[in-house]
Structure formats: C-alpha cells, structure tokens
C-alpha cells in the first residue's frame, strides 16, 4: 500500500509515503497534521557570564534551530478489531507506536527515545513536534501543574515589553498535563504522562521535549552535566502522548475541552492492574 491509515468510527490518521503521520480525518474533513522528531543541539559556553552559559540541567538553551531526525520512517502496520497501530522506526534510537482504539476520540503515541548518541561530541535535546493548519495566531495554552490552563503568547510577556534574545527557549513553558492551540474552527491538544517542556514556535504547531542528554554543566549549582547512563549507555525513555483534534466550537455540540478533561482523568488516573498467577487447580469454574 502507498497510503497507510489507521482509524475508528471517530477519526482516521493518514500517513505519507515517507512513513510520517500526515493528516487526520474528523467528521469527513481531512486536516493536515504532521508529526516528526527533531533535535536541538545544546549550547556550549564558558559559563563565565550569563549570556555564555551552557545548556544543562537547569536551563534549556539550544545552539541554533532544530534539525530533523530523519527524512524517512520504517513502518509496520497492525490492524485488529481491538486496536490499530503503526509502528515507526525513525532511526536506531527513536521509535514510536501510533495507535487508535475503537470508540476513542484520541490518538495515542507511545515514544521510545534513547540512548541519545554523543559520539559526535554534541549534547542533544529531542522533541516531538506536531504541525497543523490551525491558525493559532501566536497563542497557546499550557497547564499550571495540572490546574488551570494559562494562555501563552509567543514572544510576549504580560507585564513588560519583551525583546527576546533566545526565541526557542524564551518561548518554552512547563507542561505537566496538557498543551493546546486553537482557532475559531479547530482545536488541537496534547496530553503528556510526565512533566515536559513545550511550546508553539509557529502558528499551528505544538512541540514537547521528550529526552535530553548534555555534555556540559550549566554552572547553576548541580556541578554535573545532564548525562545519565545505565549499563554503560545513555538512558532510554519511553512514554506516551495523547492527541485530541476536533472542532473548537464552544457553543456547539462537541465540547472538545470537556473531552480532554475526561481523557486526562482516564490517562493520569488509570485503572490499577493487579495480576495473580493461579495454580493449575484454580480453574475458571472455581474463579467464577
């Protein structure tokens, strides 16, 4: 097949010939929705003055703009009645499963990143970025430790005139539960399973930082580079993002924000799974 798709009665996710998520179909309408992984190179400084600090445990400070991880993705598609999945391999250290469950109005993305290679001598900060056609006009919303959503405006501060010297990190905000954009027609929200940095650096765009490995201390106190290892290699991180895309109509029938709240409860307070291996003589009848 040239065109891969997975979906259910509510949505269909389409993939392009290179294996990237490319668009989403909601209510019969197709919307551009690209997703890819990028990396920022951590800035190296001599730490002697504030403008010359390295990117490190305390500060995210990229040296320049982002670089794409790959131009093509290897994919494997698994379709069943209970779940449809696309398994993506971006490179030797980034892979992802994109899945849709029947009856659900969200897309689940399970990412696996690491060990981040450092043999080229550069620290790297890895992001997952979503590009849509939503005209967000510089605004996006991030949660405040799971409480109210706060409106952020790119390159702007509430109480003073901002002249931003670092356009990437200066627009990054903490995301512990949700980041979202919208226009008068559509809305896109990303839920995460752990605290991450996030932003919307272009209209229609959302990004979350999923992993980082840096080679310099930033001289703010810890005295170590953010370069964790396990079994002699860099750490591997695995986690999930949940994507909701749909109408932003506030007075219409589908209230997307309410759906996001219910999904947030389900994914952050999931059912606890207990497992008990039972003896051979504990039959199903006995269980009943």
């Amino acid at each position: 097949e040239d065109n891969i798709s997975i979906g259910n009665e509510h949505l269909t996710v389409l993939f392009d010939a290179e294996g990237f998520m490319s668009s989403i179909v909601i209510d019969g309408e197709t919307h551009s929705l690209k997703q890819n992984y990028f990396w920022y190179q951590g800035a190296y400084g001599n730490n002697e003055e504030f403008r010359n600090r390295s990117s490190g445990a305390y500060i995210f400070r990229p040296n320049g703009t982002e670089k794409a991880i790959t131009e093509t993705v290897k994919v494997q598609v698994v379709k069943t009645d209970l779940v449809q999945e696309v398994h993506q391999v971006f490179n030797e250290w980034i892979s992802q499963v994109i899945r849709v469950y029947p009856g659900k109005e969200h897309v689940e993305l399970e990412w696996l990143v690491g060990p981040i290679p450092i043999d080229d001598g550069t620290g790297k900060e890895i992001i997952s970025r979503f590009d849509s056609d939503i005209a967000s006009n510089g605004a996006f919303w991030t949660d405040s430790n799971g409480r109210e959503m706060l409106r952020r405006v790119r390159n702007k501060r509430e109480t003073w005139e901002l002249e931003l010297q670092e356009p990437v990190s200066g627009n990054y905000y903490p995301v512990t539960a949700k980041i979202a954009i919208e226009d008068e027609h559509y809305r896109m929200a990303l839920l995460n399973d752990r605290a991450q940095g996030g932003s919307s650096l272009q209209d229609g765009q959302l990004e979350l930082m999923v992993h980082r490995r840096l080679l310099r201390d930033d001289a703010f106190g810890v005295g170590e580079a953010l370069n964790e290892t396990q079994f002699g290699a860099g750490l591997v991180a695995r986690g999930k993002h949940w994507l909701i895309f749909g109408s932003s109509r506030k007075d219409g029938s589908p209230n997307l924000v309410a759906k996001e709240r219910f999904l947030q409860n389900q994914v952050l307070l999931p059912s606890w799974t207990f497992v008990n291996a039972v003896a051979d003589d504990f039959t199903y009848d006995e269980y009943l």
Binding site: E1, I4, G19, A57, Y58, K74, V75, Q76, V77, V78, K79, T80, D81, L82, V83, E85, H87, V89, S95, V97, Y101, L112, F220, G221, V222, G223, E224, E228, Q230, F231, A233, V236, R238, N265, Q266, L269, P270, S271, W272, T273, F274, V275, N276, A277, V278, D280, F282, Y284, Y287, L288
Partner: protein
C-alpha cells in the same frame, strides 16, 4: 500505618526542589529512586490487603506494580510465565470507566474470560523490535495480549481470567504489514 509512612517520608524528601526539577546530582537521583522503590514495596502490602478485603476472598492478589515493574519495557514475569492468571482492574475514578489492558506474553493462543462466564475478545499485538532489543531487557514476551475491560464500576473493580491454550496455532495473532 508504618508502611504508608515509608512513602510519606519519601514524598517529604521528594518535595526538595532538586527532586522536583531533576537538578540533583546523579548519585542523589539514584538514592531518590532507592527510597521510592522501598516505599512502593512497603505500600504494596496495603494495596494487596485492601484488594483482598474488597474481593472478599482469601486469594493473595499481587499488585502488578510490585511484580510487573518492568511493564514500561513490556515485560512481566507473571503474565509471561503463568499458564493461567487472574487480572483485576481497580477503577479509582468516581465514575464508570474502561481500559484497554495490555499484558506482555510470549506468542501463543490465549483465552480471556470475564466474571459472567463470557469470553472476552482479545488479540496479540507484536512488541516493537526496538523494545525487544533493548540491551538490558530480559523477557520472553514478544507480544502484548490486548483486551477491552469495560464498565469498571466507580471506585470498584472488574476481574478477568486469562488462560494460555494448549493449541500450538496462535489464534490471536494479527497479520502485520511492513513497509
């Protein structure tokens, strides 16, 4: 109460700003992980006890977090090794919920039945090679057994009986297409 206090103590330490922001030294991070591990272990006694009271049985349920700590790399000694197991889902929300359960298992044929004498639809999904090939992963699980746990009562539970069938032909495995 003593068990819960172990976690209370650990959480008290975790409120230090270094633990919140992740700006602690590596050996301190390792120590935080050790404290949390011990606290999880201690509290699992309470969760197991509470579950057994809820279930009203003397069966010794084992909280998955205690014995499936590697679920984040799709590994679990219990589900991989047992021919039969009882899976129980406790819903902490104040309203009815559902969950798609994913249990790491070796390839095979599995039967999932609920507590009303009904067979529940299930399927085997291959674990991505990037997970299976993780250098530190020691597991016989090559697939995840997926089924839909529906209508779990608010602050209540629903259980399932999962058994491995003798048939050598896998009936749960879908066809995967690579590109």
């Amino acid at each position: 109460e003593d068990h819960l206090t172990v976690l209370r103590d650990a959480m008290g330490v975790m409120q230090h700003h270094d633990a919140i922001t992740g700006t602690e030294k590596q050996h301190v991070a390792d120590d935080y992980a050790r404290m949390l591990y011990n606290a999880f272990e201690a509290c699992s006694v309470n969760t197991r006890s509470a579950l057994n009271q809820l279930a009203g049985e003397r069966n010794s349920f084992q909280f998955e977090w205690n014995y499936c700590k590697n679920q984040n790399i799709s590994a679990c000694d219990i589900t991989e090794g047992a021919d039969s197991s009882v899976v129980l889902l406790y819903n902490p929300l104040g309203y009815s919920s559902d969950s798609f359960v994913r249990l790491p298992v070796p390839e095979g044929s599995y039967l999932v039945r609920n507590d009303r004498g009904q067979t529940v639809q299930s399927t085997l999904i291959p674990i991505p090679a990037s997970v299976i090939d993780l250098p530190f992963r020691e597991s016989s699980a090559t697939h995840e057994l997926v089924f839909h746990a529906e209508q779990i009562a608010p602050v209540g539970y629903r259980s399932y009986y999962v058994s491995k069938e003798k048939s050598s032909v896998s009936s749960n495995t879908p066809m995967a297409v690579s590109q």
